[in-house]
Each structure stands twice: as structure tokens, then as C-alpha cells.
Symmetry: C2
Subunit: 450 residues, 2 copies
Amino acid sequence: MAIKFLLPEDRIPTSWYNVAADLPAPPPPPLHPGTLQPAGPGDLAPLFPMGLIMQEMSAEPTIEIPDEVREIYRLWRPTPLLRAARWEKVLGTPAKIYFKYEGVSPAGSHKPNTAVAQAWYNKQEGITKLTTETGAGQWGSALSLACNLMGMECLVYMVKVSYFQKPYRRSMIRVWGAEVIPSPSDTTASGRAILAQDPDSMGSLGIAISEAVEVAAHRDDTHYSLGSVLNHVLLHQTVIGQEAIEQMELADAYPDFVVGCVGGGSNFAGIAFPFLGQNIKKGKKTRLIAVEPAACPSMTKGVYCFDYGDTAKLTPLVKMDTLGHDFIPPGIHAGGLRYHGMAPMLSHAFHLGLVEAESVMQTEAFSAGVSFARSEGIIPAPESNHALAMVSKLAEECKQSGDAKTILFNLSGHGHFDMAAYDNYLDGKLEDYAYPEEKIKEAMKNLPKV
Amino acid sequence: MAIKFLLPEDRIPTSWYNVAADLPAPPPPPLHPGTLQPAGPGDLAPLFPMGLIMQEMSAEPTIEIPDEVREIYRLWRPTPLLRAARWEKVLGTPAKIYFKYEGVSPAGSHKPNTAVAQAWYNKQEGITKLTTETGAGQWGSALSLACNLMGMECLVYMVKVSYFQKPYRRSMIRVWGAEVIPSPSDTTASGRAILAQDPDSMGSLGIAISEAVEVAAHRDDTHYSLGSVLNHVLLHQTVIGQEAIEQMELADAYPDFVVGCVGGGSNFAGIAFPFLGQNIKKGKKTRLIAVEPAACPSMTKGVYCFDYGDTAKLTPLVKMDTLGHDFIPPGIHAGGLRYHGMAPMLSHAFHLGLVEAESVMQTEAFSAGVSFARSEGIIPAPESNHALAMVSKLAEECKQSGDAKTILFNLSGHGHFDMAAYDNYLDGKLEDYAYPEEKIKEAMKNLPKV
């Protein structure tokens, strides 16, 4: 029995899959933050190239992947699909567990799939530099890699506390030739305003976004880049699911469940949307389960309404599952799963009843991650551990029922730069936290009235 | 033009290749440290299982890989062979550069190839626990992974300074369920003796070896395991070169040069010995180049003689290129390339004129590593950077001569746990150091008179 299902380079998908074309209803358009009227392409033009704005609003079923992007994808794609045969035995389940492993990219996660595409479309329109924000550094490192491969400059505002406490993704960003500045900084008006109030501010993702957006908005040669949430980001990640469909055929299997963790939603959408397309177009019945941390439960506890993408209310409003733009995420370790909202396209599919959502506690996430690492070798990213916890539950259900279901999950990245979180878990220092109902109600008061 | 050359799982080699069978003369046997007479299998039995001792002394051309070991190899093998097409362009060379990438193993290096095999042979003889030492943690993490997969216990003595300053490979060891103790410790007589003299001792590899060996020597259920140097370790690594030969065929190419970095010698031997076999048996003319740091130049500056494997003179004497067992390596960052001696089998091949050796400075190593990372994405281990520096030189020679030579090198691991060294390099804080001639002469005075 094979455990690895590999595709040759020429099987890298030639187009991205746009789920919007197959959904029974179109997703609501974004609203302009000033007028609260539907935003047009021009409203997004100061920050994004028209090539990406068109993708953001596209209803085409497929969008061709540019040759140069596919050329760079070849450095790590197609990624392997593996059967977790050793873990199945440890779990004592009759379930067949497969995983798509995105940790083989140079940045160690799925993020370069969109970073490379975003850099390319910006480059076509004469942009020579991209700015972005990063927390622990996963997105910042992916974008710096992409810009470097495209011969572009990259400026990353990194939340100051991570800049100093988690220096190794910062080092990665430097190795790939990007500039990385601890945020808040004195390089922007918004950074200086924060520092004037609090010279010792350790920063936040919201502040770092403001700094990156400010730089991009003031320079013609510079754009801003976002690593999740937006439609075009989810679109680029569909290479994952398209490859997985072909690899499951090689494995002579088809998933009853597809599972992924969600923060902004891009890695889950990347694997799940192509299978959703199969459900819609071919009558398949795969259950698609998005798994979020109980500490940041936008799908399972939030509301579905128009909200801002950022704390400062500068971005367009999008209809999404949200905990409110004032939401301050607790200090959980899965740094990539702390956004207050969920990708609009994924929220839309969720409320159409096409996707399910579950939440898990972080200790159960790490428990599943350690069990997996001891069976399969690979040490998963803390974010991915949330998917693993859900897979464990499904495997246990199969054990109880005797049903040999087929489960596929997205192992979105490795945990090489998150080992301190594993130490905390093994030392019993990891605290569970579920976002309290009363706090959610309070945050909802500030939702925009649209 | 393809850039990735992948083999299916059923092409994992079925046997290890024993170069000893093809060399024109047998390598000199090890000597007992007490009698200075050739050591027999029984002399090694307190530390190693007979299965490995027989491999250590074998003249058989091939040794079958046990099914269970191959089964575990499938988690990451066959490893990919890639063409560094983007780096070739950056270097502006007509040379064709290929690399075998061993960083895809869960531990991020070639080390698990032998760790899994060693654990298996120990398990067959009733051993339930392995001890070892580790510096920065590359070998310790590989052995803990292997023991975990084999259902064995593992105890790692980690040099205290690394235990506290480089905690993330320590975390990896813990995730894989092994015990890791900072050395010197109060768990052994040798550790206690050091602490009595200096309670604040930050340890050394020599002390950690003593602790690990002491524990193994005093318990019937426990053996000791070494990550390089010995014949059986090099033997296990020949899966690398065997796969590479087949993958170069897929690429429709054959290497003029095979390049690898050397510390103890196992990753270089792993890729080079199978090609050496082709040179001997099939009249191929591939030049095999071992690359060592100028700071620890056992092949290029040492002497070829019988010496002890450890500072405390407890191990058998082996004939090898050595800087003397008193050699104290300078604090260079390529932690895996700091051993005073070179693998006896590799030293033997070198002095038969079948293998070449070169040394490089560490800033040129890191310069090549950063250039490679910016071209191919992958951030190499500092050790591997030494191979890359040599490849750069060969590529430059091809540029000068116009010769489109084919170069294959072993990218023995990734640098995810060595990012601080990259920071030092980028900050201009990395100092070059060549081991001075007078120091070498001094160390030579203490070589055993055999």
C-alpha cells in the first residue's frame, strides 16, 4: 500500500478554480467605507493592481494561472498527498486518513501560493514594491520570498512583540532580501501617532496593517498585499484542492470529509472549494468542515453581517462572519487564526449550508498535533493542529461506529518556527480559552448599521 | 524542462551499498584502546548491537535493508532530486547544477536515514533504550524521531550551552517523546566529576559523549548510538547516492562532480560512495569533492593516522584524517562540522586518491547559501552551505571556461533551526577563521604512537 501520492510538475493546475461561478447565489459585494454603497474596482485601485481586483469580482469559473507563476510553483508544487497510515493505527480507527502537505514550500506553509501570484500581478502593472504586515511572520516570510523571486522589493511591518520574541521568521524575511521593520515605527504617521501616546507600545496586527497601508497609499510604485480573507487570495489557494482531487484518484479513494483550520479562511478554502465544486457539479456528498479555535470563533459564535476588515475602519465593508472589528484576540499560540472576521466567500458558502464549522480548544489541538508528530514524523504548525483535532474526533466516531470513512485534511504548514508553543504544551502551561458570550455581545454593539 | 525528479516509494533502495567491497585495498581495522591490537566484534558489544558491528566490519558489496526500516523510510524517501535552474541563471554559469534534498525528512536532515536503521538493529537484540549526545540538536532530534517510530526510549545528553541558547531542536526532541538532559548533568559519574570542578560548566560534545556512553555501558537494556564517522553510519546513508543515480538518469544526465560538506563524513559519503562505485566498476570519471570548513580542516590540514574518537581516549583507535583528539573546535556556526576526525572509510578513500577534499571559509559558505535561498527558496543548513560554496566555485570555473559541466551536490538539510547564524551573517558579525598551522602542529604532538 502506497502512502505518498505524488504528481509530476506538469500536473500543477493550469487555472485557479473560482467557486463563485458555481454557487447558487452570488456573494454580496463589498461596500465603500465612506458611502456604504457597493464599492467599484476604482475604490480598491490605490492598494491593489487591477488584475487582482478583477479576480476579486470575477464570476468566471476558472482563471488561467500565468506561466511565470506556474514556473515558480514548480519549486514546491505539486505538493505531496500522503496517507497517515501510522497515525490511523495509533488512533485505532478504521477511518482512512489522508493529508495534503503544504509545509514543503520554502516558507513552510500554503501562503506562497498566493504571495507569488499577487507579486506577479502587481509587477505586470509596474509596481516595484509591496508592503504588508505580519504577526508571527508566516505571511511576511511568504511575501518576501515571492517578491524576491519576482525581483521586487518588499517591506514588512512586523508586530514589535513578535519581532523581538519570535526572531526566526524575521530572519527568514531578511534572508529573502526584504526589509522588516518592528511596528509601531517612526516611518509612518500612524506609527508615530501610536508612539507619541505610548513610546513602549509593543504593537498589534491592526497597527501594522495601518502602517503598511499608509506606505502603499502614498507611493505610486508601491502596493499593499494581504495574505488571506479576500476572494483572490482564496482563489489562488485552490491549487491545493485541485491537486488533491487528482491525488485522491491516484489513491483510488474519495473523501467523505475534507477538513482544514480557519483563521482568515484561505487554506481551508484552498482545499475545500474544489471539492465543493464536485459536490455541486457532480453530486458528490463530501462534508467540508472548517475548524476554528474556540478563542476566536467567528463562524461558530459570530454574526453574519457587513463589517470592516480593520480596527481603524479604513477598509471596505464586507459581509462576513465576524466577532466585530473591535475584537481583541486573546494571546493564543495559533497566531494565524486570530482574525476577527472570516473570508466573505467562505462565510457565504457557510450560510448557504454548503460548508460546516466547528471549534476546538487549543490543548486538544496540540494533543492531536503531538500524536500526529509521533506517528508520522512531521511536526504540524499550531494552526494546522486545529484541523488535526477535528480529524481525531471524526476518526474516533468511525472507531465507535465501525465505519471506514475517508478523511482528507490540509496540513497547511510545519511548526519549525513555533516550537516554543509545543514546549508550553508539553510543560502544561498552555491555557484553554473560549471566547465568552458576553464579550461577543458587547463587540456586536459596535457593528456598523448597514 | 523539468526541475524536480521524483521516484515512487517502490524505488527506495532495497539494500545499502558497501563501498569497502569495491575499494582496491581494505580499510585498516580499528585498534583496542587498551592493547592497541586490532579490535574484535566483542570489544564493541557493550555499546553496539552485533547487527551493526557486523556491518561495521563487513566486506559484502550490499547489505539488505530490513523491511521495517524501508517502511519508515517511506515517510520521507525517496527524497527529491532537483535542478537548481534559477540559481544557475543567477550565477550566470553554463554548468548544470542538480541537488539531492535531504531536508524533507521530519528532522530536516539526512540523519534519520541511519537513526532509523540503528534503532531497528538495536531493537532486534532486545535493546529498549538508546543514549546519545547532541550539540545543536540535529542528531539528537533524528535519533529521538527514530526511537519513537520504533517504540523505543531515547535519552539525549545535549551540550548545556546549546540546551539553553538553541532551545528549538531540544523542543523537537521532546515532541518526539525523548528525554533530553543538559550536559554536564548529575545523572552520571562523568557529569558529576565535571560539575564538582566547575558547577557552571556549559558543557562540550566530549563531555556529553562521556555521559551517554556511561549510561549505555552500565545498563543491559541500553545501547549508545553515533550519528556519523563509523562505517555502518556511512553505509546507511548510501540510500542518498543510490537514489541520486537513478534520478540523474531520469534527468538524462550524469554528474562530472559530486559535492558534499563533511564533518564526520556521513552525508558526503552517502551521496558520493555509490558514485565512487560507478567510477570503479563502470569506469566513470566523476570527481567526488568533500568540503570542510577552514576552521576544522581534518582532511586538508590534518594527518592520516590512528587516533582516538574522543577526548577522553575511551573509544577504539581508528585510522583517519585527524586534527588530534585534543582538538578544540572554534565556535563556528556549522555545528555539525566540528569533529576532530574524519570517517575512517572516507579518509581511506581519500588517501587512495579516489576522493578530493577542499576547505572553505564560513562567510563564503553563507554567501553561497543566501544566494541559493534567494534563487531556489530553500534556506540551507549552515553545514550544507559549505557544499554550496564549492559548487559556486565550480560554476564560476565553468563560466570562465565555457564548459557546461554537470554538478550534483547534497543539500543535507534545511536551516530552519539555524536562523540566528544567518542573522549574524547578514549583520556582518560572522568571523572567518582558518585553523592555524602552529595549533595543528601542537595538537599532533599528542597523537598516539601506533
